[in-house]
Symmetry: C2
């Protein structure tokens, strides 16, 4: 009894959740361009361009800058699996889902875990990091720049100084912030940084841009144990992305086409103009939400402009809001996670989704639903 | 000084190398369909369909059957990282690059490695596996079904019996064989099997279909140490792909669209008809190659129909053949690897690339170049 499948069609959504964001027409077009072999000279020059453009978007000169062949979480794993050896002390800042995920990964790698925690919705207290670094011998400190689960944007510059005073390496998760808010890898002295494609880059999920500076490469070179993952071993991956072109694994060709086009559009807009657009649209969204009587979870100075966690009014079932937004208005927003489940809605206005028009549609839909 | 990038265009190639293969129009179309959120009900039903169709293509009833969010090598790592614990004895059959890769992964995981080796271009001798299993206490035996680096197709049924007589688990790499040659997971009693999308499935690279049977799940459930990879931990991944829909990592949405369409086309053609097509085209290719005076590396009974390793005639520089094929005819074929570098050309006629027309074009081009 064979089941017959129809040709795939998908509904058109306005994606205003925690990611993925909507994809520009030119990026979609790129995905369906003719496929090339992963060693074809024409593909190798696309790889060159992608690396060059990624360096521009990360604001870094780091040679080892490339997209990992997996989603943002593979980027997180790639950062830790290359840097952390069994027995290494690692200090993780935890104030949401992605900090917890870092802890989980560190423990699987046999690292000795230290934590500085803050309530979900609050930033990490830098003094606590300083104190903990005085007590423990952490060789690595990790933090999430934009905690997608709560909407908190963590200031990085002072934290980076504290980490480097102690001679530790600084790993930063910028999955939700890259190209949506100011981020300067070299100026801010970030040693390892990874992101994802499906947030402010507005490319479909499937790749994780990552960058390592020389201090990070030096730590990798001095490892006394092999990197535990073959797939994510950067010493091997870089031989394919570097001048040697040694086959490691087959690159996700068409995803790399898409990333190439997404990066091109970002550089055409200009990084500063893009940060400005995200901020302006965030302020317009907040103003509109406040007019509807809605409040944000996070205090003003620590809000991620691209990911707004909105407190659900007393007595309102947030699941019904999300369901109605999706079914009646074809708008997706996100739910709260962990301790914030049922308490917040997560509204993302990232990359191509961050438009005045989308914000107006959302506010008008919310007005209808809440009235 | 800002560099200006042009809109991406890519040349149209006839891909007759070791993968990727050409992509059908309908699969390309699917990649550029509107993106959905990874928890959108419309996407969840696409996931259901993909799992259902993957089971049909793997010829299995295994519940845990899904695409890993990475390329074929991520599938290999997912198989071993979930099954192998530090100290576990693992017997790997090695007669090419991908057997060696398995060894590398087993050692990174702290497994105790045993090997049965054969010359590159020869199949594994089953008697040697039987003997080695009598000497060592391997709990896992791993083999590559279609060794893409050499063109050898390994018979699996008798090997599977030997492995299970000893109570070991059988892991099989079918990156190059799935849907191109007979493969019956349940009938042949294969415990863990992974593949890649860019070979006979004719979907761009970026996903690794994988399947685990109950014996394999039982081994995972009885682990005394956590799976060393967070990203590839199947106990967590399956909660997202299963009924719970617990967020793990963002699925590569548009890649999954593409796989869905690729699988649909395969099931429309029918598995047996597809195996037949690959075999028929292989025989036509071999006949044509022999008319040109070219010989295959592998003996007749062990040839992969979809990946033909052709001996380079004495005094001919294979790099020039590949360069001329690509530049003058826009045809890609592959080079030899490791000890076969410079000695063979690898001609893949996989999935959508496996057509009478492509074979004729290749033979005619080779005739021009070699004359």
């Amino acid at each position: 009894m064979k089941r017959k499948y129809k040709r795939l069609e998908t509904p058109r959504r306005i994606l205003l959740g925690p990611g993925p964001s909507n994809v520009p027409e030119e990026v979609s077009r790129a995905m369906s361009l003719p496929i090339l072999g992963h060693l074809d000279p024409a593909f190798l020059s696309i790889m060159e361009e992608v690396q060059e453009m990624l360096r521009a978007v990360f604001m870094t000169k780091n040679r080892l800058t490339l997209p990992v062949s997996g989603t943002g979480s593979a980027g997180m794993e790639a950062a830790f699996v290359n840097i952390v050896e069994p027995g290494d002390s690692v200090l993780v800042c935890v104030n949401g889902v992605f900090g917890l995920r870092m802890c989980d990964i560190v423990e699987r790698l046999g690292g000795v875990l230290h934590k500085v925690e803050a309530d979900w919705g609050k930033p990490i207290d830098i003094q606590q990091v300083r104190d903990e670094l005085g007590r423990c011998d952490a060789r690595v400190v990790a933090v999430v720049h934009a905690e997608t689960s709560t909407g908190v944007l963590q200031p990085l510059e002072e934290l980076s100084d504290i980490v480097h005073e102690k001679g530790a390496l600084f790993i930063v998760d910028t999955v939700t912030s890259l190209s949506g808010a100011p981020l300067k890898i070299d100026t801010w002295n970030i040693d390892v940084c990874y992101s994802g494609t499906q947030k402010c880059l507005s490319c479909p999920p499937g790749l994780a841009p990552i960058t390592f500076n020389d201090r990070a490469l030096d730590k990798i070179a001095r490892r006394s144990t092999p990197v535990r993952s073959w797939y994510l071993d950067m010493t091997m991956v870089q031989k394919y992305w570097g001048a040697d072109r040694v086959y490691h694994h087959t690159a996700p060709i068409n995803m790399i086409y898409a990333l190439r086009e997404a990066l091109r559009l970002i550089l055409e807009e200009g990084l500063e103009a893009r940060w400005e657009r995200h901020l302006k649209n965030h302020l317009a969204l907040v103003e509109g939400l406040e007019e509807l009587g809605l409040q944000l979870l996070v205090e003003k100075p620590y809000r991620i402009p691209m990911l707004n966690s909105v407190l659900v009014p007393e007595g309102v079932d947030e699941a019904i809001i999300r369901k109605r937004l999706l079914e009646e208005f074809s708008i997706e927003v996100g739910a709260g996670l962990g301790p914030l489940k049922g308490k917040i809605l997560r509204i993302g206005i990232m990359g191509h989704s961050s438009t005045k028009e989308n914000i107006e549609k959302l506010l008008s839909a919310l007005k209808t639903i809440l009235s």
